[in-house]
């Protein structure tokens, strides 16, 4: 049991993101109209996650500099 939950903890988010990317890549290729829109949304998710994680980084970095 412990092993399974560990797998989910490490791989859960990366797998979901990868599925979102693959969906986005294919939906714009195979469809038109609303499928393009869905593609933009699902491909933006990983970019938003990166931006969110890195904004956090820039923020704490700036704070540390002001303390020093």
């Amino acid at each position: 049991m412990a092993r399974k939950s560990n797998f989910r903890r490490v791989w859960g988010i990366p797998l979901s993101i990868s599925c979102s990317i693959l969906f986005g890549l294919l939906s714009a290729l195979l469809g038109a109209g609303v499928w393009h829109f869905l593609s933009w949304i699902s491909l933006s998710i990983p970019l938003v996650i990166i931006a969110w994680k890195l904004r956090h980084l820039a923020h704490t970095g700036a704070k540390r500099r002001t303390i020093q």
Binding site: V10, P14, I21, A28, L29, A32, I50, L54
Partner: protein
Amino acid sequence: MTKTENNKTKGGNIKRWFWVHRWSSLICTLFLLMLCLTGLPLIFEQEINDRLNPPPPYEVLPAGMPMANLDKMVELSKRRYPRDIVSSVFIDDDEPRILVSMMPSMDADFKTRHSLWFDARTGKLMRDELPVGQQKQTFIGLMFSLHTDLFMDLPGELFLGFMALLFLAALISGLILYGPFMKKQKFGVIRQGRSRRLKWLDLHNLLGIVTLAWTLVVGGTGLINELATPLFGLWQMTDVKDMLRHYEGQPLPKQRELGSVQAAFDTTKRALPGMTVTSIVYPGNKFGSPYHYLLWAKGDQPLTSRLFSPTLVDARSNKLVAVVEMPWYLRALEVCRPLHFGDYGGMPLKVIWALFDVAAIVVLISGLCLWWLRRKSKDSFYSRILQNETADGTQE
């Protein structure tokens, strides 16, 4: 197997994968950086070209005008260049223009090829271009050469294809290493303060894993694109050769004996209703057939507009000879192309493509930094990973 033995093999596996990751990355990183940087403007190729090299203004005419007669355009081109022969006709599906390409002979170097632009609706000559070899190098042309063949044609393509293969090995070994690295880590946490190396490592892991699906697709389709020349060559040597077998020994049609190109176009249109003819390869062209006009047509659905079907029309009689079935590997190549270019979902998709590209650049640079910093502390790195494994083993 005891737990310690199990951990030892695990540690050995990790060491091996790490070796694959380090060397495959190190060899391809500089080329991949170059590919990412030159690929960035290529995403916006059309926009940049339109701005730097604007097309001549088109006459304003009512929509739905029929196409002017191709024979007349070809006739006019031949009158301007009586010593040259027509090698192909390109029918643009974005703009109302038709390009008639000419060469001194079909065997001549491609640099001698020159094109005449016509307005597709009126048949008026709009621009008479210099031969390819005398044109000024454009910015996009430079980026394209660096991105596809390093100015070396097929050897360059194969070399960059090999770099793409190494890149795929780096991606997959990186994926395998992600698990052991993240055992004690929460997703996406960037550890700060403790050491510069950990910060780079966490950044590398976060950006690498989040963009992995995209980099795998773009890397894989890039590799397939680099194989386009050999794949088309294979097709010409097998299927196309078979198709032309019973013409062997027949006299080759000379350019002045050819039937009407407009009639060849009409024949294909009738045979393939609902499809758009985009180019006509003249008989004798290296990329066509000695005895036929070869016409490329595509469908009008999102997917079928990526799939081109060639038809062969007899060069003298203008009779339809065959609608050619493309082999699966060329079909796959055609479907792969947009997945590499990112040009199939409007401007938002292009911007998304560019952002992923920038993320990939950060992964490459952070990987290089890690290698540089790790050279000093390689041993402590291994003991840390093995410690992770052992600690995990005792918990279970």
